[in-house]
Symmetry: none
Amino acid sequence: MQRELAGFGVAADGGVCREALTEIDLAARSWLCRLLPAASYEWMVDDAANLIVRRAGTVPGLAPVMTGSHMDTQPMGGWLDGAFGVIAGIEALMALDDAGIHTRRPIEVVAWTNEEGTRFKPGAMGSSAFAEPGRLAGFLQTRDSKGETFETACNAAIERILPSAKRSPLGHPVHAYIEAHIEQGPVLESGQCRLGVVTSIQGVRWYEVEVRGVSAHAGTTPMQLRHDAVLAAAELVVRINEAAAARDDGNLRLTVGRFDVPGSSINTIASHVGFSIDLRHPSDAFLADMEELIKRVIRKQTRCAAEIRTLMQRAPTQFDADVLSIVENAVAATGAPYCSLGSGAFHDAMYVAEVAPAAMLFVPSRNGISHNPMEDTDEADLVLGTRALAAALVTLANQ
Amino acid sequence: MQRELAGFGVAADGGVCREALTEIDLAARSWLCRLLPAASYEWMVDDAANLIVRRAGTVPGLAPVMTGSHMDTQPMGGWLDGAFGVIAGIEALMALDDAGIHTRRPIEVVAWTNEEGTRFKPGAMGSSAFAEPGRLAGFLQTRDSKGETFETACNAAIERILPSAKRSPLGHPVHAYIEAHIEQGPVLESGQCRLGVVTSIQGVRWYEVEVRGVSAHAGTTPMQLRHDAVLAAAELVVRINEAAAARDDGNLRLTVGRFDVPGSSINTIASHVGFSIDLRHPSDAFLADMEELIKRVIRKQTRCAAEIRTLMQRAPTQFDADVLSIVENAVAATGAPYCSLGSGAFHDAMYVAEVAPAAMLFVPSRNGISHNPMEDTDEADLVLGTRALAAALVTLANQ
């Protein structure tokens, strides 16, 4: 089933391109809705186009236990990032059906909208709006690179799914949330663990740095008279990395992912560069110190004008102790080697944790690779993760 | 007249957009043909759509003296780059008419096609094909960003001008060529010179550097396990600039104008960066040394795989000593302060120099600015340059 989903957007190199609410994402959602028997499941779509399927509980009126993840991918992404958590949830429900297990509470599987944040910014719009519906209004106005609004894309997605799902309000009480996901890093593999209990998500701050120089002719302008935005920005990238390396306690993650030179040409000194900084660490105080350090580096450069602004910041998330203990018991019961770890990536669980007790469960990523066509996990580990997820869901749904 | 030409393609910011063989360029060419009395001048258009006007000489059969430049501009260019040299030539002819001066040899003014190379690549197609007609076949197949071929655009231009000009073969013997141009750099202004005798055009080498790392998740991948293509490329840009600065004799020009991160995203470690290097110097041996130095810097970096390839290289052009001496005498005769200098930019004269004794004459660029709407020159200096050009043309045309 996991392989079937990967077929929606598969690329020649084995990677997957299924950006949020594109035609291929909508086709994958329609396919998803046909996986469970319509008679015993209720499919719902909310104002953020989150797609939720509910398996009824035996005691009326109890809040559901929820699991899931996202189905959208990076532009050149892999087959498991997000997709694993959705399919693991669906397979857990099927396993309960096969085993004839009924639970006191309903169990819901959700496919959150636009977690990656590459088509519409910021990421995790679906889970974020679910946790706080007031956030949706702002999201609806954002546009993709072709100028289409998130609102237009959402409405098209909702309309497309409506024959298979009923319209439901955004946000509802959740008894507990577990998200299964690939680790997207090397920790489990290097520790020879086949499952991971995810205790926290590190804090993250995103910045945009704008460097403004003076456009001039590459052939005529003496080196010492230049205000070269590419050179100034390259120096900043190097110095910021050097300054960060000197402070790194082993847990720092600093990445310049975007480096844009608008209207660039080979024989023109660039007047403008914009680059991004993605900064992460388990300690919010450490992040604040690093931010000051980065700002000092930027203030000290004199080649061009430069300024930094914060695009997003989010303090570290600590998952719920009770849900963690249930996840750990389910993981331990598989008999496979496991460990506890923090998450380097953020996930929809970060937002759901604002309104419900939550935790996560990881399976290893081969060579630690993700956001890449090479992303992969041993099938046996996918099965193991799905089994542990199902067990934890049943325990929580019988509370 | 210079201001009138700028009216063809003038933008709100005072800049000019008149890309090669666009409607506005064709309109400017038709306007140009009406500037001189049809009875005493012969207009010609060749297979590269170069537009040439000939003022007859008194001795039959002598090769003409030629002057001119280009009328096309950068997409966001100024009013004088190229245009000055064409209008200065036309005004010189008018001045000869007014003064009743006749010369032994014909004098021709040419508007070369597509010097800038922004609509069709490479630049200087018109003068390059004039010098070596065998080059035209390759140029004709190139396409602009809308898919139109240079051949289609050329044919339309030729047809449009045919009522005013007769079709002529591509290339013919030229006794001598002088091109008047704005400096596009700060040398004349900083030396308080009002005219410049251009002795040479510096050599240029263009390179593309490809840096290949490994795409990975920004939040999960420890710093020491990364192969970050943006960081590796930024380090190369900085180190190449540092190495170049240590060797710079004051005449080196090194520019990284493009820096592309395909498929970049804020939270993904980039797997691939391509950046350009534009390297110029008056000495070809110096360029060869610098190329070796750059290659050593690239070989020494270990963060990612990196390779460099040459996109284009052109040895320095040394202008003709006899023509230079005539230009210098004409410049000195104006009584204005002048100096000799090399050209940082390349020009149509670089190609004409392959087949005829050639030289150039510069007027200052205010603040050294060109390829920019702010491009400007004092009107008095434009007049001075035109006067010196006319005097030099007469001397050459009486040889």
